[in-house]
């Protein structure tokens, strides 16, 4: 079979352990990818090949699944992920303008990462906090009723943190 000729270079003991812990190996692909992304931050080509090898499925299937779901990243992301909610409630309360303000402030487009690897800007669809619309999430932290004027302050907060971390 074709995939057997693919050399899997690295080993991923975390994934092996996770696979062994699954009581039901049927349908393990998506849980494996969730775990891999949790461990390594994103799904590199090597990781995808390894998962394919481990589950005995074609690499094309793994790639097909990894690209189907929006939560899976195929590229490394910034240290801080800024997610602007574009759900309906946020949209009608002006989240598009907030997203544009972030684009301007960080000088990147949505779904891009700043060159220093600090920020990734993305839009998401509804975090279920519509009462706080428009909502921005940085990592796990939620900012509610955000206006374009708040954007610089939010970015500065994390620039400060990053500075402390390095100093």
């Amino acid at each position: 079979m074709a995939q057997e000729s693919v050399e899997v270079r690295e080993s991923y003991p975390e994934l092996d352990a996770f696979y062994d812990s699954l009581s039901d190996k049927n349908g393990a692909l998506i849980p494996m990818l969730h775990r891999a992304q949790g461990e390594y931050g994103y799904l590199s080509q090597d990781v995808q090949l390894y998962v394919a090898h481990k589950l005995g499925v074609p690499a094309s299937k793994v790639y097909g699944v990894a690209t189907f779901y929006s939560l899976f990243n195929l590229e490394r992301k910034g240290q801080y992920k800024i997610n602007v909610c574009l759900g309906t409630a946020c949209y009608v309360r002006g989240s598009e303008a907030v997203l544009e303000a972030f684009e301007k402030e960080l000088n990147i487009k949505r779904s891009e990462t700043t060159s220093d690897g600090l920020f990734t800007l993305a839009s998401i669809r509804c975090v279920g906090a519509c009462g706080l619309a428009p909502v921005v999430m940085v990592g796990e932290k939620v900012y509610g009723r955000v206006t374009p004027d708040d954007v610089k302050g939010i970015v500065d907060e994390y620039l400060g943190k990053a500075g402390e971390g390095n100093g």
Binding site: D24, N26, G27, A28, L29, I30, P31, L33, H34, K61, G64, V65, F68, Y69, S70, L71, F72, L86, G87, T88, A89, Y91, V92, R93, I124, R125, C126, V127, G128, A129, C130, G131, A133, E140
Partner: protein, 489 residues
């Protein structure tokens, strides 16, 4: 007070009342009574019959009778059957399932066990969005605690009936709310739908008979079993008994979850519970059903809300998102917003949805940019109806609804965009411009200092002027002018 009295809490009865991380709180509010009642005093057929008689319909949006689903799954013969819970709440602007899972996870577990007993299934799966970490955590705690007390697992309460539950995490795909897509996803594949029949109740997860219901549907079940179908039917209407939870959001004063009896007029929700429109603006429309629904205009505010009436208005119940729009919202823009969503979330398996929605979106793009043509309205309607008739699954079959419903009630707004290149709501940035009224301008220079592209000129204490060529229509001057000397139009 009226905002309280018009609400009836069945699905949300424990949310915010009990500690969701302590099973004893749930038991103290008669939790797991219904499961014990079913296991020890009712036959599986009687459970199915009770749910059927209650008239409970699927709260995920389509409104299919829950008892009929259960009956079909019960009659399907198989050694293994599954009970699935659809907790992949993907409608942008809906958060009722999240509240139930976070506020009262045991009511879902209990209902799934009851369902397992009724249809003859020993395994259940909750498919939950990975975007809801707190819901996931509370479900895990709930499953653990229920298993410890013997309310889940082998030989529940010594009845001989066993039921095991697992969580499965979604990975961000709206189409996975469609039941056949969801099952493909649980099997570890791309969440693409398949043709029905066979229905999941006959051939579902791993090709075994499977009952699949939405979170809010399950949240009603224990109460129906415990208090009887007659009790449930006292709420709501003949065809749509019970209550519905709505996630009220948008331009109303009070946003949040509301649970009202079916048949409650839209006006009660918007004006009494929602407290009317923010900033004394005018109500324009209520959007229900998310990307699958439509916009209900002011003249239909007195319509009683139930499955059939909403479909009659060209919208649908959907999972319960209700976004209130005011005079500043452009209806073409709202359609474009939803089409952007469905075009992005289309799984790509069938042609009408994959290509058709993209064409609809391109036309809406053109219209909002001032490049609309006369024939566009016919194309939108014809193509929209074709997609509805031919798409493979519920996503595609309902994706043109936002366009078709806004064309029905707000056609003039489309025509203004196309023929007069004007956006009456002043929301489509390419179709609006800003002007300084010389008689009101005091020359205070606030606008010029705040303009991000420095396109406003004028001496201090002299009338200022906007260079229309360079203006990016960002609206900063409009919002900053202390003398309301800048108009949009």
């Amino acid at each position: 007070m009226s905002s309280m009295t018009s609400q009836v809490r069945i699905a949300l009865r424990n949310c915010g009342v009990i500690d969701p991380e302590n099973i004893k709180d749930y038991i103290a509010t008669d939790g797991y009574d219904a499961l014990a009642k079913a296991l020890f005093t009712m036959t599986p057929d009687e459970v199915v019959e009770t749910v059927k008689k209650s008239g409970l319909r699927g709260r995920g949006g389509a409104g299919f009778p829950t008892g009929v689903k259960w009956e079909t799954a019960r009659r399907s013969e198989s050694d293994i059957k599954y009970v699935l819970c659809n907790a992949d709440e993907g409608d942008p602007g809906a958060f009722m399932d999240r509240s139930v899972l976070e506020g009262d996870p045991h009511c879902v577990l209990e209902a799934m066990a009851i369902c397992g007993y009724a249809i003859g299934a020993n395994q259940g799966v909750i498919y939950v969005r990975a975007e809801y970490p707190l819901a996931v955590k509370r479900l895990q705690i709930a499953i653990e605690q229920a298993s410890e007390l013997g309310l889940l697992g082998d030989n529940i309460l010594g009845s001989g009936f066993s039921f095991n539950l697992k969580l499965y995490f979604g990975a961000g795909a709206f189409v996975c709310g469609e039941e056949t897509s969801l099952m493909n996803s649980v099997q570890g594949g791309r969440g693409e739908p398949r043709l029905k029949p066979p229905f999941p109740a006959v051939k579902g997860l791993w090709d075994k008979p499977t009952n699949i219901n939405n979170v809010e549907t399950y949240a009603n079940v224990a109460q129906i079993i415990r208090r009887g179908w007659e009790w449930f039917r006292q709420f709501g209407t003949e065809k749509s008994p019970g209550t519905k939870v709505f996630a009220l959001a948008g331009k109303v004063n009070n946003v949040g979850l509301v649970e009202v009896p079916m048949g409650t007029p839209l006006r009660t929700i918007v004006e009494d519970i929602g407290g009317g429109i923010r900033n004394n603006k005018k109500f324009k429309a209520a959007q229900t059903g998310g990307p699958s629904g439509g916009c209900i205009p002011a003249e239909h505010l007195d319509t009683p809300i139930e499955y059939e009436s909403l479909i009659g208005l060209g919208s649908m119940m959907g999972s319960g998102g209700m976004i209130v729009l005011d005079e500043d919202d452009c209806m073409v823009g709202i359609s474009k917003f939803y089409l952007t969503f469905t075009a992005e979330e289309s799984c790509g398996k069938c042609t009408p949805c994959r290509i058709g929605n993209m064409r609809l979106l391109e036309i809406l793009d053109r219209i909002t940019e001032g490049n609309g043509e006369e024939k566009d309205l016919d194309v939108l309607e014809n193509l929209g109806n074709t997609i509805k008739d031919t798409a493979l699954c519920g996503l595609g079959q309902s994706s043109p609804n936002p366009i078709i419903s806004t064309l029905r009630y707000f056609r003039k707004e489309y025509e203004e965009h196309i023929f007069n290149k004007r956006c009456p709501a002043g929301s489509c940035s390419k179709l609006i411009g800003y002007k300084i009224l010389p008689e009101k301008c005091t020359g205070c220079t606030v606008c010029a200092r705040n303009c991000p592209v420095s396109c406003i000129s004028g001496e201090r204490k002299q009338v200022h002027v906007i260079d229309q060529e360079r203006c990016t229509k960002c609206g900063v001057c409009f919002s900053k002018c202390p003398f309301k000397a800048i108009i949009r139009g």
